[in-house]
Symmetry: C2
Subunit: 392 residues, 2 copies
């Protein structure tokens, strides 16, 4: 029945990450491969209380169909959060609740990409976005990511040459690199986007997980009309509830909403109502601070272990938050090859390959620090250091 498949689906390879996570699920393997928040810090009791409150107050409504935009009260709370915490004004009417940020990526693909359209992403880039966009068959252009954001010279050059419809970026604690754009870089990018009448897709699931330094301006603040902003409760409250959102100017939202209706009518309503009640009854900032403290300790433990156990020829990005470190091996060393060896030594990571478009056997890899204890970090990084040291 192969003739029945669409071209788009035939072109998308099975998720490489998925295969890696399968290998990493062997309990004997210390895995730094995942990209998950640490479940030990989920507010389980608070969310249970929120669920009970929803059932008591409006059980029937929580279980019924609702509008495609999602719970208005929750969209008001999100709008308030941006106003008070990030000095960004977003009308609740211009916020649409999604099934995690991943769905927002799919909706953007649906709404904006024709086959063969030029789009622009970072290199390395978030693989979930590469996968979601790929299904709409664009030409994906990439611009190298430096320590403080994209390479502006390359950025200008590609835009002049290819005139991409949009630029997709994860400006805070990027997945996979952990890097964050400087204030200057944001302003430079914003200026170029406006000058070229482009859309910027700002994917910001990690923005609140800052351990040090100061928050930078959102693109949604700098160039609100050009920016489609994606937010999520997945990394700060719970991913399993699948509550994310997309915020865009009314004219764009009007069409994104059509894509949402066709995609699944609406996201789980109980999840939205639970998060609403959770936010009313609890101090989200205090919860985020608690999580940041733990993640930061794990980050520092991983950096110390890398310093101790990795060859000096392996470099690591300087990250101020999020879930990931990004490492670069000496030129010519394929991280993918080391992966096989690492698995035999019971330690896992994600080789860089799936974060690139059209490149393989790259010399970079991703380490996740949010889900390991300081003890497993020390043992795992030591094992990995040994594998690297013996094979480069």
């Amino acid at each position: 029945m192969d003739r029945h498949f669409s071209n788009r689906i035939s072109n998308v390879p099975k998720s490489f990450i998925r295969e890696i996570l399968k290998v990493g699920s062997d309990p004997a393997v210390i895995s730094f491969a995942g990209g998950l928040p640490n479940k030990d810090y989920f507010p389980v009791k608070e969310l249970q209380a929120a669920a009970n409150l929803v059932f008591q107050k409006s059980g029937k409504e929580a279980l019924q169909y609702t509008c495609s935009e999602g719970l208005l009260g929750l969209r008001h709370l999100i709008s308030d959060h941006y106003k008070t915490k990030k000095q960004v004004s977003i009308d609740p009417e211009n916020i649409l609740m999604t099934t995690g940020s991943q769905q927002a990526l799919d909706l953007i693909g649906k709404t904006f990409i024709n086959e063969g359209d030029e789009i622009l992403i970072e290199e390395p880039g978030y693989l979930g976005a590469i996968q979601a966009f790929s299904l709409y068959q664009p030409n994906i252009n990439t611009v190298p990511l430096l320590e403080d954001g994209v390479d502006i010279v390359e950025f200008k050059k590609i835009i002049a040459e290819k005139k991409p419809k949009f630029f997709y970026t994860v400006p805070n604690f990027q997945n996979p690199s952990g890097l964050t754009y400087s204030e200057e870089k944001r302003k430079a990018v914003a200026e170029i986007i406006v000058a070229n009448d482009m859309i910027l897709v700002e994917d910001d699931p990690y923005g609140d997980l800052r351990f040090e330094g100061t928050h930078k301006s959102l693109f949604k603040k700098l160039i609100p009309d050009n920016t489609i902003y994606l937010g999520s409760f997945s990394k700060i409250i719970s991913p399993g509830l699948r509550v994310g959102w997309v915020a865009a100017a009314a004219k764009l939202m009007d069409r994104i909403l059509v894509a949402k209706q066709a995609s699944d009518l609406h996201s789980t309503f109980l999840s939205q109502m639970m998060i609403y009640e959770y936010l009313i009854a609890n101090d989200l900032d205090a919860h985020i601070n608690k999580v940041c403290k733990v993640y930061n300790e794990q980050r520092l433990a991983m950096l110390a272990a890398i310093e101790e156990h990795f060859p000096k020829s392996v470099s690591v990005t300087k990250v101020e938050g999020g879930l990931f470190l990004w490492l670069t091996l000496p030129e010519g060393v394929a991280a993918k090859k080391l992966f096989e060896l690492a698995i035999s030594q019971k330690v896992a990571f994600v080789p860089g390959d799936p974060f690139y478009v059209g490149k393989t056997n790259v010399n970079t890899f991703r380490l996740n620090f949010s889900c390991a204890t300081k003890e497993t970090i020390d043992i795992g990084i030591k094992r990995l250091g040994h594998v690297i040291g013996s094979n480069i």
Copy 2:
């Protein structure tokens, strides 16, 4: 920024139904326009208990990311249900949990439709499917639906002429017509599908809501390898939880799964675990019987009121279950025009137009009986009969 939109999204009109439901939400309007299950019969307490059990037993897991296929235990229960109740064998590995059936329609569009592909649906057909498929820009062919299923002569003719990739059908208590395929019609359709190496998409959200007559064979039983089956808990437990599923042969599922990953990683995990615990602790059949009893009373009340208040020139389909009646006005009378007049008389229905491809001002309309009491049915149908009687 119009130049940024994709062709697919520019071609899809804003949901007509959505606009109708907005008008119908005026509390003074008696609305038969919705397609919702009756929230007064949701098992609210039982689902609250299920939620508490999930939080007690595995709160952290329910709140974490999970695999794209969804909860394996729930897929086993679904598989068991088909084995014991419908004599159909479906491997749990070949079941994928979706965000309601609507998402399954989107995944099918993603996985199978190239721009310009021929596909085939019923006329009238489910508008959510028309909307979902339209985004992938196929040529949608239609085949007339008769009292016992599609017109077989037309069905053969269109398939011979257009060689569509798949045929999409709602064989039980169809939305919008309420009609059900006879056993003979199922066998005839199945034979043609196999002879033409086609896929049949069997959308079956209402199948368990049978008030009289006997259950008919699923296409998934008759031609399992050719059939992609869509099921849902929306009409029998709760739609707001957004738990549906798609079952397909492994070779097809392999690709549908890639589409699912790219679309939203996975559906809400808490919802799936809640339904699992609900099914373990409760008698679903007893619950369905209770709901069927109520809906049937409402159906009978609506039929009686139609008999009393509608002109004899208006005909109604004979339905044995589900949520809808489908009515035909004398030729040349546009249901859409009557809609405006009905609204002014504080009663709402859905004119047939959105259930057709490329036809407008049709003389058919849909009435929903699941959400109205016998009293409001009597008042509303009387009002509607008056509008119709004065304007045809």
